[in-house]
């Protein structure tokens, strides 16, 4: 687990207080104050919260997820040609702290909220699978690798995927941990998707995340252990000398990783829904990546030359791998 995970306050919904999973999580934090609440969302969605203040000491919320469990993928997310594309969230909030993370536009809270009712997700997903195969992305609103000790979600999803070959699962991560790969044995339909950025972008904007070299080591280990691996060079962020930075990144990837064994690569420059971007600008006045003068196109804030950037990135990658393996957003439409 991420070393910054040390919650001074844990809010627990009364109805799940005696659930063994809740007990298991609470046992890890004997010094935390445990506060019983009616709904976790009452804490998570409080008005006027300050993300910047809260991130100095995060809280944990344990809840049961009600209502919609699976959402249709947004057009600005990669679907990899899947005809049925969903995402789900079994945890919201992240122990990592990427300045550009869309969570900061959606939610005001820096807390981590974990939903423990995994069985409800599986029940509903079995219903969805009756209508045919689907692609499901698991970690748009958290990094599940970073919290596996608490949630056990990765193990549970891997077991479910093993029994449901019609399901293609994508687990995105910036984590460098390598101890979870065994649970993906005989799960070619589970894709471990590593987000990789130049070290300068990591240092500037992806706080508390592992370095590029550690992530690359994790990719190599994942491949060695037979995992299906996707690389996500997404979001591409314009920093000073960004072209050189991304050229160096792809060179390094070519040198360090057997790219022929990578399932595919997704690319995409920074994009954010306009209302989220507006909120993030207000909440984070000191973040260069948030304050960049983006242009608005079809309701999204994008670089004015985003098409050229994506084309350029594609060209760069085509030096190293077959073009069929490279997915930009336009390919996914």
């Amino acid at each position: 687990m991420n070393s910054s995970a040390n919650f001074s306050h844990i809010y627990v919904e009364s109805e799940i207080r005696s659930d063994p999973r809740t007990e298991g999580i609470l046992a890890r934090f004997p010094d935390s104050h445990v506060i019983l609440v009616q709904r976790g969302s009452d804490v998570f969605n409080r008005p006027r919260q300050s993300f910047s203040a809260q991130k100095k000491s995060r809280s944990l919320i344990l809840a049961r997820k009600h209502g919609t469990l699976f959402y249709h993928g947004a057009p600005v997310c990669h679907s990899f040609h899947a005809s049925r594309f969903f995402y789900t969230t079994t945890a919201v909030g992240c122990l990592f702290d990427c300045e550009y993370c869309w969570l900061k536009g959606i939610y005001a809270s820096a807390s981590l909220m974990i939903f423990i009712n995994q069985e409800d997700y599986f029940r509903e997903l079995e219903e969805l699978l009756k209508d045919g195969s689907l692609f499901l992305s698991l970690s748009y609103e958290t990094d599940l690798f970073a919290v596996e000790e608490l949630t056990g979600h990765i193990h549970a999803w891997a077991s479910f995927a093993r029994e449901h070959p019609d399901l293609v699962l994508e687990i995105r991560t910036k984590s460098s941990r390598t101890d979870l790969f065994r649970c993906f044995e005989n799960c070619p339909n589970v894709i471990v998707a590593y987000t990789l950025s130049p070290q300068s972008v990591i240092t500037a904007f992806e706080h508390h995340t592992p370095s590029l070299s550690k992530r690359i080591q994790a990719v190599r280990k994942a491949l060695a252990e037979g995992c299906t691996v996707r690389l996500c060079l997404d979001p591409l962020i314009k920093v000073n000398g960004w072209r050189k930075e991304y050229e160096a990144l792809t060179d390094t990837l070519d040198q360090e990783i057997d790219l022929s064994r990578i399932k595919d690569v997704s690319i995409g420059s920074y994009r954010q829904s306009e209302p989220y971007q507006r909120r993030m600008r207000k909440r984070f006045p000191y973040s260069a990546v948030i304050q960049y003068p983006y242009e608005t196109e079809d309701g999204y804030c994008v670089y004015s030359d985003h098409r050229e950037i994506d084309q350029w990135m594609r060209g760069l990658l085509e030096r190293y791998m077959e073009k069929e393996k490279i997915f930009s957003l336009e390919d996914c439409e």
Binding site: H33, R48, A53, Q54, S59, K238, N240, A288
Partner: protein, 270 residues
């Protein structure tokens, strides 16, 4: 500004003496020293919410302002008299609504839930059966939430009784005097918790925009561009100076200004 609140004058008295606070003119009982404003709300949730709202609504608010409510309460779980407790959950007994202040830094170990009711606690009629009980906390939090973030509010209680015994004003003041060291430590914790980040100043923004004969929309674009460059450490001033040297700025008119702005934008952010 530190906004201190108590319900009773007997609670406020030792604090007024400790910080040498001076009575402020006006219908609300307030005492201040330039840094701290102490308000006595009166007893009960309506008094707490209305006075709290009036005080916070009238004053200009800053990111580093915070509210601390300090006072006596009943301990419903046999807490010892004089126990000092930080509140992490406030429940309005009438509506059932719960409120949660953010506790990011604190010097106190002991935390509990505070129930707030509109009557003196009564074993038979109260839903509160554990934690602490008072008649103002949740109401003050709810009123404060209109103006402040959850990390800008803190509730500190000292247990005076078990809910069904009477306490004299002298006892109340005595307990509050003992609370002062914890209150001082919590003020320090709140200073850290509510510390303002340094502001980013864009030098000569107005004068720069004038060089482009900028409209309001252009001024907004220039602001965003210069803010980004300042944050990213890009030397935008050198680029502007160069344009001035080349005689390309100031622009003759707005349409030329637009053209220059596009060029400069391209040079700065590619």
């Amino acid at each position: 500004m530190i906004f201190l609140f108590t319900a009773l004058y007997a609670e406020a008295k030792p604090l007024i003496e400790h910080w040498h606070l001076k009575r402020k003119e006006g219908p609300i009982q307030q005492f201040e020293n330039g840094e701290i404003t102490l308000t006595v709300t009166g007893t009960g949730p309506i008094a707490a919410a209305s006075v709290g709202g009036a005080v916070l609504g009238k004053n200009p608010r800053h990111a580093d302002d915070f509210l601390i409510s300090a006072g006596i309460c009943a301990g419903l779980s046999h807490q010892k008299k004089g126990s000092i407790v930080l509140i992490h959950q406030l429940i309005d007994q009438n509506s059932g609504r719960a409120f949660y202040p953010d506790i990011i830094f604190t010097s106190l170990k002991r935390e509990e839930t505070l129930f707030t009711g509109s009557r003196v606690w009564n074993r038979e009629s109260s839903v509160a059966d554990h934690g602490l009980y008072d008649m103002e906390g949740a109401a003050l939090f709810e009123a404060g939430s209109l103006f402040l973030s959850p990390h800008q509010m803190r509730f500190l209680k000292t247990v005076s009784d078990t809910g069904d015994t009477l306490v004299t004003p002298q006892e109340v003041s005595g307990l509050m005097k003992e609370l002062i060291p914890s209150l001082e430590a919590e003020i320090e914790a709140m200073r850290r918790q509510c510390a303002k980040e340094e502001e980013v100043l864009i030098e000569n923004e107005e004068e720069t925009a004038d060089l482009f004969q900028a409209s309001l929309t252009m001024r907004r674009q220039i602001h965003q561009l210069l803010l980004y460059c300042t944050l990213a450490g890009t030397d935008w001033k050198a680029v502007i100076q160069q344009k001035i040297k080349q005689g390309l700025l100031p622009a003759e008119n707005r349409s030329e200004g637009k053209k220059r702005l596009e060029e400069i934008r391209h040079e700065l952010i590619g």
